[in-house]
């Protein structure tokens, strides 16, 4: 059964690798491998305190684990290349199905990169004696099984939780709370490094917590082996086997629930909503806005995304109150706006092929885009303003008022513009809302889009920030407050101009967008079709492209550039860098050749996927 599922997933992946997807794969693989190499270097690093290396390494492993746990929840619902619903009729016991799904979860770039990262355990154990070194070889795959099993379980729990309105909001709180807390724990580590706490290791409570988390058990096990503490080593090792097994058994029960129950959608309530009624009467833009607001409150995924943004801003800024610092509170509204923009940047993708309604009604594209912008503003702006005013009143000083309001104004407008622009120009096809099935969080592959928005949205606040900074430097309150006006102006301009670009594009390329969304190319055979992301590579070439872009990073970074850097720095670390194990005349040429090989593979992969796209036009 595992064999068949594996082949099935490989076929699905082979049929899905296209030029655009390969591009996303490049970026993801590059970012992931950078982190993996960082983890390996941390594990082998020569740090002042003996406990510190273990602390920081355990912290890095915790980050990998939480990345696996939370990443899929708000970046498109995880791996849905094969869905349990598709196999619901097959007479197989749920446990076998769960273990089968777990096994195929290891196929992909993410697990491969994580395996590279977890090989840091071997590096960590290198100085801890033979027993620890041998155990580390076993712990590397166990660590991967642990995070993947917990990730699948987490996603199943969240998927079932987001099946009614209260639990969608509550799960958004938990999700955002853990996320924000993780972000803040890095701030704490940074502060510890800044204040020289690192000589003695991290604060005791924190370092204990890192080792109590399952992600740290492997470190505990290796340290115990180094000390000769066999019972502790055996206990943590057994835990690393038992926990994934327990997770998968629980997951198998949730799989059955997923395929045999349905989310409870809520229809209109009996309470009258004056705002919606007024919008309904306010012309086409108002009608679209009212429709959008209704969707935001009835679509469980949108509800979850919206509350995720709000909770994230709140928890992120409330957290430092624990150490008596209220200085982040004024920025709660700003953070909510950026987060809300990042999670709303695929408005048309979320609607699926419902775009046809707009396309058959000529001249409605302007109202459709503007209405969606208005709805987003109504959803986000009042909350953000309230949080900013309250937060600044409590935690801000005189100088924060113009800053907070200026950034808020610029970002609210910039966000409203960018969500419209991104939704149309960088549409990510997702499943039809009616076909999301057992995973209400399945939003398509929006990971790259969310990341890009988190970077680009703050850029829209740069002019306002520049003026505010100038005001601070010159000590002129007039200039500081002028920043608010600048923020309002750039925000308004972004909303207007980017929105206009979006509806013009929608008017010109509507059918292509619809074709891209439905995933089929049958709507408009003609020019433009080839530009869509669904140009398929022949299976063999797709496999080659996939192999090249997954593997090229290994010669390029860990075997090429990193050894070159180490040679330049005169370090005598060797780890698994081939070139560093050679005698001197060969070290540099071998490392350089590796780097060249990596670049060559990258280039070849790009050319292979591109030339096909060119041929299809």
């Amino acid at each position: 059964m595992v064999g068949v599922l594996t082949l099935m997933k490989l076929r699905v992946l082979a049929h899905s690798t296209s030029g655009a997807r390969a591009g996303g794969l490049f970026l993801g693989a590059a970012a992931g491998l950078t982190l993996a190499v960082g983890t390996i270097m941390l594990a082998g690093a020569d740090l002042p305190g003996p406990a510190l290396r273990g602390d920081l390494f355990a912290a890095a492993l915790a980050v990998w684990m939480f990345g696996w746990l939370l990443g899929p929840v708000y970046t498109g619902g995880g791996d849905e290349s094969i869905r349990p619903e598709q196999l619901a009729l097959i007479p197989l016991p749920p446990r076998r199905v769960a273990f089968g799904f777990l096994a195929v979860s290891f196929i992909g770039v993410g697990p491969l990169i994580s395996l590279v990262a977890f090989s840091a355990l071997v590096v960590y154990a290198a100085g801890l004696g033979l027993a620890a070194f041998t155990a580390a070889l076993v712990l590397v795959p166990l660590q991967l099984v642990l995070v993947v099993a917990l990730s699948r379980l987490m996603l199943a729990v969240m998927g079932l939780a987001v099946r009614s309105r209260p639990s969608a909001v509550l799960s958004a709180l938990i999700n955002a709370g853990v996320n924000a807390t993780l972000n803040q724990s890095w701030v704490l580590i940074w502060a510890a490094v800044q204040f020289g706490l690192v000589d003695r290791g991290l604060p005791v409570g924190f370092s204990t917590l890192l080792r109590v988390l399952p992600s740290g058990w492997a470190v505990v096990c290796l340290d115990a082996l180094a000390r000769g503490d066999w019972p502790l080593a055996a206990a943590t090792g057994a835990g690393l086997v038992a926990l994934p097994v327990a997770a998968v058994l629980l997951w198998s029960r949730l799989l059955v629930r997923r395929t045999t129950t349905r989310p409870a959608h809520r229809g209109p309530g009996r309470v009258r909503t004056p705002l919606l009624e007024r919008l309904d009467r306010a012309g086409p833009v108002g009608t679209v806005a009212a429709k959008e607001l209704r969707t935001w409150s009835r679509d469980l995924m949108r509800l979850h995304l919206r509350w995720f943004a709000i909770w994230f801003g709140l928890v992120y800024t409330l957290w430092p109150l624990a150490i008596g610092w209220a200085g982040l509170l004024p920025w709660a509204g700003v953070i909510v706006v950026v987060m809300a923009a990042a999670t709303s940047a695929n408005l048309y993708g979320l609607d699926g092929t419902a775009l046809w309604l707009t396309l058959v009604d000529p001249g409605r594209t302007r109202a459709d885009v503007r209405g969606r912008q208005v709805a987003w503003l109504i959803q986000v702006a009042p909350v953000a303003v309230a949080l900013t005013v309250a937060g600044t009143a409590v935690g801000g000083g005189a100088w924060t008022w113009p800053w907070a309001l200026a950034l808020l104004a610029a970002l609210v407008g910039g966000g409203a513009g960018l969500i419209a622009y991104t939704s149309v120009f960088f549409l990510v096809p997702g499943p039809e809302p009616a076909r999301r099935g057992g995973n209400p969080l399945d939003a398509g592959n929006i990971f790259g889009q969310v990341l890009a928005m988190l970077v680009v949205v703050p850029v829209t606040a740069l002019p306002a920030a520049g003026v505010a900074l100038l005001g601070d430097r010159t000590g002129s309150p007039l200039l500081s407050w002028a920043a608010v006006a600048v923020g309002l102006a750039t925000g308004g301009a972004c909303t207007w101009w980017l929105g206009r670009a979006a509806y013009r594009r929608l008017g010109e390329r509507g059918p292509e967008l619809l074709a891209r969304m439905s995933g089929g190319g049958t709507v408009t055979p003609g020019p433009g079709r080839a530009a869509s992301a669904r140009v398929k590579l022949p299976p063999r070439r797709a496999a080659v492209v996939m192999f090249l872009c997954v593997v090229c990073w290994i010669p390029l970074f860990p075997q090429g550039l990193v050894p070159l850097y180490l040679i330049w720095r005169g370090s005598d670390t060797r780890l698994w860098f081939l070139a560093l194990h050679l005698a001197d005349p060969f070290r540099v040429p071998v490392a350089a050749a590796m780097a060249l090989l990596g670049v060559g593979m990258l280039w070849l992969g790009t050319v292979l996927s591109r030339s096909r796209r060119g041929a299809a036009t």
Partner: protein, 252 residues
């Protein structure tokens, strides 16, 4: 008397405050060609989903050839072939790949799965679309590949939700002939349809579902009671037919 192919007892399902299926009981004799008809929203699809193990009922039991679908799903599923409503399929596989993989997951040996897939694709006129991914299939082709998936493992009870919807006339004739041969050889078919003529031609038993309950059930002639099925249907669901009504602004 043989064990009924499908026996539904006191089945109930609520979605929020709406009752979709209300204490519904139904018995499908082995070897029957059973038609399930009813107005939109009557609970046909909900009933069939619960009957095949795809939607957990709030109350009641379902037995397939005496085997409880919910207490012990696996033996029941081996006997069932299902074409569900709005069927979820792995979209990025070709029709042949899909059938071969599903067959192998059901425990068929690779050559057997491949041979059956080829035969089904050929019979259902899908062989020409061999290199097309399921995502690019038309609605009718999706129905046909779903039907092929339901037949693949040689079930003894077929439960088909609207099998003829969007299927072209030639394929429809092929499917009818195939289903007739299947029942002639002792298999049982339960299908839902809105086309009364199809049901009258094909089925020997019918049930009319209305508001989550059975309004009438039994052998076709008994339910028709001397009239046509369409007339009986309209009478049973109590529709207030007014054929003179039409939107006032339309073509006036």
């Amino acid at each position: 008397m043989r064990t009924p192919a499908l026996e539904i007892t006191n089945l109930g399902k609520r979605f929020g405050d709406r009752t979709a299926v209300d204490d519904l009981s139904l018995r499908v004799p082995a070897g029957a060609f059973f038609g399930l008809v009813g107005p939109n929203g009557a609970g046909k699809t909900t009933t069939l989903s619960m009957a095949v193990g795809l939607l957990r009922p709030d109350s009641g039991t379902v037995r397939v050839e005496g085997l409880d679908v919910w207490a012990d799903p696996i033996p029941a599923r081996t006997r069932l072939g299902v074409l569900p409503d709005g069927l979820a399929l792995p979209e990025r596989l070709t029709g042949r790949e899909l059938l071969v993989f599903l067959g192998r997951l059901r425990g068929l040996a690779p050559p057997v799965a491949a041979a059956r897939a080829d035969e089904l694709l050929d019979i259902l006129d899908l062989a020409a679309a061999e290199r097309t991914l399921v995502i690019d299939y038309s609605t009718g082709m999706r129905k046909k590949i779903g039907l092929a998936a339901a037949l693949l493992h040689g079930p003894s009870l077929l439960v088909l939700d609207e099998p003829f919807e969007a299927v072209d006339p030639v394929s429809a004739l092929t499917i009818r002939a195939m289903l007739r041969q299947f029942t002639a050889a002792g298999g049982t078919v339960v299908l839902s349809s809105h086309v009364m003529a199809t049901v009258e031609q094909l089925c020997d038993h019918v049930a009319v579902v209305h508001r989550g309950r059975i309004a009438a059930a039994g052998p076709l002639d008994q339910v028709r009671a001397g009239s046509t099925l369409e007339q009986r249907f309209v009478g049973l669901v109590g529709a207030d037919l007014d054929l003179t009504r039409s939107p006032s602004w339309l073509a006036s």
